[in-house]
Structure formats: structure tokens, C-alpha cells
Symmetry: C2
Subunit: 210 residues, 2 copies
Amino acid sequence: MTTRRGRPPQGVLSRERILLAGLALVDEEGLAAVSMRKLAARLGVDPMSLYNHVDGKDALLDGIAEVLLAAIPAPPADADLRGTMSALAHGFRAAMLGHPRAAPLVLTRRLASMTALAPVEAVLAPLLAAGYPPDRAVHGLRAVLAFLIGTLMREVEAAPTLGGSGRRLADLSASGLPAVAAAAPYLAVCDHEAEFEFGLRIMLDALGEP
Amino acid sequence: MTTRRGRPPQGVLSRERILLAGLALVDEEGLAAVSMRKLAARLGVDPMSLYNHVDGKDALLDGIAEVLLAAIPAPPADADLRGTMSALAHGFRAAMLGHPRAAPLVLTRRLASMTALAPVEAVLAPLLAAGYPPDRAVHGLRAVLAFLIGTLMREVEAAPTLGGSGRRLADLSASGLPAVAAAAPYLAVCDHEAEFEFGLRIMLDALGEP
DNA sequence: ACCTGAACACCGTTCAAGT
DNA sequence: ACCTGAACACCGTTCAAGT
């Protein structure tokens, strides 16, 4: 996020400028609309110029995902274990909801870079400090992360809400499926905030004691 | 999965044949390699012929997702609530792992069709029968589903495993991140089966009593 | 009703050329 | 070192034509 030290940005282009413009493009037009050519046009540059700073479209998307990941704030230093875990989960959520159309890049891609390990360190460090053996720490982290990814995919409209897409209450009641019809009023709406807190509490409770 | 009754398949093509060929194409070459033209070639047909049976590429992918969803078996009729929920979760997992490269179609798309509601009915019915009020049934179902989606995305290589992609133990130890290094042996491997059972137990326990 | 093929408006990326 | 633009091998989909 800070400007690169050392070499001044002599050209018009830089990896950072490209990634930020890419994120803006995703925010405005959605993932499906991203193309190297459109991004180049937005930067006033020949499409092939991007390849001097980025390794291709896939690497561009990975880079945008890393920009998003980097926006997760560090948890307050004085928090206890549960407070730390909760702060990180909420920070992750806020980072994704800040760029809902780009969030699937983080949620559905396997990032290979070092910067993707920073959040792992942020979660693992307090668990180990609290006395969790490393195997249990990793185990618990994976369960929490699976829940977070599934929940955020739903919030971000990339996964089923139940009651599929923008299904109407009337459609559900008239579906001919008795249980669906009976629960229709609840299937038709989804309080994301409440679902998130409900599930997060379950997962953090399940971590138990070291 | 059964052959369409009523009108015989007079042409070479039918929606069903197209969807099955599409699924086979995804299985063999992956989602990114799917194109209307390649699928048509595989069926020995002009690309535009597909449009007589399928509404475009997006509808094709939705259709393939529905084929996958339809493969979830009904739970045994004599099981208790927990057994029913567990059977459905395992059936869902098996259906996804049977076609890992196609699974993201189910896990990351919002299906609008009626057939996507069948699994919802299958889960909701036993919960309501067991006496759960509909709001709590939907609530619990959503939490379980978020966990399932997140876990399966990881199993299917579409979401972070932690220790990013095919990260080597040595890389993790040398990452310079102390907690990551300490937990490296556990980050480097992932027993999907165990993670799934661990998380599923947590979620089913959290459902509590009606 | 279904199938065809030409055509349009796009893609990502390679390569040779410029500065 | 960085930027350019022509070219290649693809896309999804519209449309007019065939049967």
C-alpha cells in the first residue's frame, strides 16, 4: 500500500499501479469483465505493456487477491486469545465485504506467495502462545477457516444462500416441497451479520482449551 | 439421470446428452478448458447446435452443477436425525469428490432451478419432523452448509489449504514467520477425511436439541 | 423443430521491433 | 528496461439460411 522505496516509478506503469487499477476494475465491472486489454485501456497503455510487470492474467488475479489479503488489520496487542481470533475473523470479513466482487479471488484461489502466509502467522502465533500444541492449532484453524470461507462466499453472492439466488417467498411456498414451503419465510431472507456471529461463536467455542 | 420419458430423442442431441458430455469434459480437462466449441466438437456437432438445447454457456454450467447435485443419495429412511444429517453431508461430499474439477460449479454458483431445492428439502424435512422451529432449522442448516462448502472447496483444491498451494515443508520452516515455522510439519499435510469429520461433528453438536 | 456456417466483437499471449 | 503493435489461435453468440 505504501509507495515502493528505492527505485522511483520512472515509467507510467508499476506492479502496484496495475494491481490497484485491476481491483478498481473488478469492483466496478465484476470479475467476469476483467481482461488484460480492458485493464490496459484503463491505464492508457498497450495491453502488452502489462506483461512487463505482471506474469499474465492469472498472476494479475493472484496479485489482486494479495492486495485484498493485505488489508486485514493486525489484532489489538492487548486482546486475549478469543479476542484476537475474533478480531482476525472480523477483519477478514470486513476486508472481503469491502470488495465483494473481488473477494472470490481470495476465497477460491490457492495463493502461492509469501504474503499469503502473513494471516496464517497472525492466527497461529496467539494459538501457540496460549499453549495449543501445533497440531491442534492447525486443526482448529482449518475448521474456522472453512466456516469463514463458506460464509463469506455466501455473503458475497458467490455461494448458495439457500432458497437459491433471488428466490421469492411465493416461489418457495409454491415449490411443492413441504419442508421448504413451511420454512419459506426464513429461507427467503438471510441476516448475514447474525449468521456470521452465530457460526463464529460455534467455531471458537469448539477450539476449547489448550 | 434416467432417460427422458415421452418424446423420444429424435436428434443426435438432447439437453441430457449435452450436460453429460459437458461433465465429462470438465472431468478430463478442467473448468477453464470448457468451451462451447470444444463441447460441440466432442459431440460431433456444430457449436451453434448446442443453443437449441441449452441457453448459453452459463446455463450449460448451471446444468452440469444440477447433474452433480442430483447424485446425492437420499438418506436411509430409518435413520435418526443425526444419522440423517450425517448421511446427507457425507452424500454431498461424495458427490463433489466424485467430480472434483466440476465441484466448484455447485460450490460457487447460485442455482436458480427447482432441482437445486431438492437437497434443501432433504435436510429441512427431518429437522422440522424432529420438532425444530423453522427459523432454527434454517439457521442451523446455513451454518452447516457454510462449513461444508468451505471444507469441500479446500478438498477440491479450489480454496486455501493453509500453507498455500503445494507448499513444501522446507519453505514453511524457512518462511521467517515463527509460528508458521513451528507448525510447519502440520501445515504441510492435510488429512481431509479427518478435518471433515472433526468439523462436521462440531456443527452437528451445535444444532443442539429441538 | 432442429441443425448449420459465416460473421462479429471480443479474448490471452508470442514475437519482432522500437526507445 | 520498458513499451509498442501486428499477428495467432482462440472465445461466445447473432443472424440468415437451410432441412
